[in-house]
Amino acid sequence: MKDFGYSIRKDRQIDYDKNDKRVLHYLEKHEPSILTCIACGSCTATCSAGNFSDFNIRLVQTLFRRGETEPLKLEIRKCMLCGKCQLVCPRGVNMRNMILAIQTAIDKLK
């Protein structure tokens, strides 16, 4: 095929009625504090890992809500679990357990 230097992007549309909510449901049950998140981004602003990388713990929240398990899996690998995010969170989201529970939930998908 002729290479015109551009291509068609893979469909990025997320259907909230059909996406994979298994991780989200696991978290709702085992770490319900995630539901209180107001996406203020304080966690991301203080993040130790975020200091050195593009790690974004608010994005983690977005990813499991959207059911995007693959990027989620890669994202949480960057967390150092230091807990600063938890101390600045105005809503008391238990973020360290959230990270551990996401991994447990992902392991259960297999």
Binding site: N51, K78, L81, L87, I99
Partner: protein
């Protein structure tokens, strides 16, 4: 002729089963040791450490020294059962050999001696020694044990007298074993008394008199009652021996092996090993850890205490939430009379529940810091408390310390939070990154403000330099006259951070420092017995409300003597207390800095 009666069977079979179980498990644990530990074990058997282990077995498993230190009544109760029974067996054996009519002395023979022999006058023995010596001593020992039993019964309802507010909830096997244990000695007393009374001799000062009295009441029936009681005695002993491996009393044989393991230098590992298996078996479920657990006392969480956690691991019923619901403050470990390393057991189990997370810290830049002889590492948490950072910078400036602020632009985590989640290998990655960074500075002294980092640097990093917490370093600056101080006399309560106190045994430097700038008040829980602030990174699964209850409880105890300031030496403790405290919460550095007179003005 061998003395035999059918009733000895339950006891004998029970004993054979118990000995088989002990041999089987000991063999299993010892043979499952890794090659290095096996060598340690073998070498230990032929070294002076063997005798020091035997001494500890005697002091802890029989006399229960640690229990005595905790509470005298509790110590006496345990000693009467353990030491009393042990002596009863030893002396009973000697007695039976002296009075034996044959050379064959089966194990049940000393136990049921009075059934088989009624006439205890052996001419040569009675002439050359004190007449009735054994009859007297055996009765005395029986009384000794029965006094312990009486205390055990009282303890059911008055556990407070024994220094315990709460006691362990038992399982069925525990209840069966406990009932049998309680029955053994009263039944023995009555079996012997009836027999002695009926045959009119052979008993000591208790059994003989009680026996005479009983025979007066029961007349001819005494012989049958006695026989029935001998059957009961044998049965309860047999049932006790059979249930023992499945009950809390399994700690008796296991603890002995644990003491030997410890003396031979065998240590816990990141995963399950023979050592951790033996520790799990050695838990006596005494419940001492229940009263010291703040999650139970302050937050009404009653299913996670070390005793229940270890039991659920042993029964393979442990779950993720319970495993992760623990402050890992080390208070249970500190109080455990068996010396079980409850924290390391918790982490081993967390490892299993942490899932397959493969951390990737490839993003950490290969920084090459400049070289400096004094390096300051603030740690993640200190970056959240700018007050501490300001004070430290100020103190260093006044003292003219030429230092490198290693993590001014952001810290690489020390790895402890990762380690506390049970991910040993992932934590190692962080540690290695941090270690290389520290080593590159070629520092002589590493100062840190965070006790969590401090503990990690000391325990895990193996750094070729002096590592100090800032409380130690500032104290040194004052002692060498680098900073002058004006004394203030505000009342201050000092809170020992877990990782600095119990974790690293730094108790005196912070207190000495505070005594120079304030008036230290007494706190009920201090030094090894200090409370956790509730902010612990070891706790994963607990809602913030309950976490606050732990903090509030710790604050109440700190506030008992109405201090004007709560001082601590940890940024995480400070941050945790500050949100709920009525008085100011300050770090030690923040206490010292304002006390420096005539400060050189800092230009921003």
């Amino acid at each position: 002729m061998i003395s035999f009666n059918l009733f000895v069977l339950p006891f004998s079979l029970g004993l054979i089963y118990l000995l088989y179980m002990i041999a089987r498990w000991w063999y299993k644990w010892i043979s499952a040791l890794n090659p290095n530990d096996k060598t340690r074990f073998r070498n230990g058997l032929f070294s002076p450490r063997f005798f020091s282990a035997v001494k500890e077995v005697f002091l802890e498993s029989l006399i229960h020294r640690k229990m005595f230190k905790r509470n005298a009544l509790m110590g006496y109760m345990h000693m009467s059962f353990a030491l009393g029974w042990f002596l009863l067996i030893i002396l009973g054996n000697i007695e039976s050999r002296i009075y034996s009519t044959t050379h064959i002395n089966p194990p049940y023979y000393p136990i049921f001696l009075k059934f088989f022999i009624h006439d205890k006058t052996v001419l040569w023995f009675e002439i050359y020694t004190v007449p009735g010596f054994f009859r007297f001593i055996m009765d005395l020992l029986l009384l000794f044990i029965l006094s312990g039993l009486a205390l055990a019964i009282v303890k059911r309802s008055k556990s407070r007298w024994f220094g315990m507010t709460r006691t362990t909830h038992y399982q069925l096997t525990d209840k069966v074993a406990l009932t049998c244990l309680w029955l053994i000695f009263p039944v023995r007393l009555f079996a012997e008394s009836f027999t002695d009374g009926y045959y009119g001799g052979g008993g000591g000062f208790v059994t003989q008199h009680l026996g005479n009295l009983l025979v007066l009441i029961f007349q001819e029936a005494s012989q049958h009652i006695a026989y029935m009681l001998w059957w009961t005695y044998s049965l309860v002993l047999g049932i006790f021996f059979v249930t023992l491996p499945f009950s809390r009393y399994w700690h008796i044989p296991t603890e002995i092996l644990l003491i030997f393991f410890r003396h031979f230098g065998i240590k816990p590992q990141a995963g399950h090993s023979s050592f951790s298996d033996v520790e799990i078996g050695a838990c006596s479920r005494c419940g001492v850890c229940i009263d010291v657990c703040q999650l139970g006392v302050a937050a009404h969480v009653h299913d996670i205490q070390a005793v229940y956690f270890i039991r659920s691991v042993r029964d393979e019923q442990v779950n993720r939430d319970i495993t992760l619901r623990c402050l890992v403050c080390g208070r249970c470990q500190q109080s455990c009379p068996v010396g079980i390393q409850t924290d390391s057991l918790r982490l081993i189990e967390r490892n299993i529940f942490s899932g397959s997370l493969q951390s990737d810290f490839g993003y950490l830049p290969p920084k090459t810091p400049r070289q400096a002889s004094i390096v300051y590492f603030a740690g993640c948490m200190t970056h959240l408390t700018p007050g501490i950072l300001r004070a430290i910078k100020g103190i260093f400036l006044q003292a003219g310390v030429n230092y490198l602020f290693l993590d001014e632009q952001g810290s690489v985590c020390c790895g402890r939070p990762m380690l506390l989640s049970g991910k040993h290998d992932q934590a190692m990655k962080l540690m290695e990154a941090n270690r290389q960074l520290i080593l590159a500075t070629q520092a002589e002294t590493l100062v840190t403000s965070c006790p969590i980092c401090y503990r990690m640097f000391i325990e895990m990093y193996d750094l070729p330099m002096q590592v100090v917490h800032h409380s130690q370093y500032i104290l040194e600056l004052i002692k060498t006259g680098k900073i002058p101080l004006q004394t203030h006399y505000k009342k201050v309560a000092y809170h020992d951070p877990c990782d600095l106190g119990r974790g690293s045994h730094v108790y005196h430097a912070p207190r000495e420092l505070l005594a120079k700038v304030s008036d230290l008040v007494h706190v009920k829980n201090e030094y090894e017995d200090a409370l956790c602030c509730g902010g612990s990174l070891g706790l994963y699964t607990l809602n913030p409300k309950k976490r606050n209850m732990v903090t509030k409880n710790a604050l109440d105890i700190l506030m008992a003597n109405q201090p004007e300031i709560i001082a601590t030496a940890c940024p995480l403790c400070k941050k945790t207390f500050a949100k709920l405290s009525d008085v100011e919460v300050l770090d030690i550095a923040e206490m010292v800095y304002p006390a420096i007179p005539d400060k050189t003005q800092v230009t921003a």
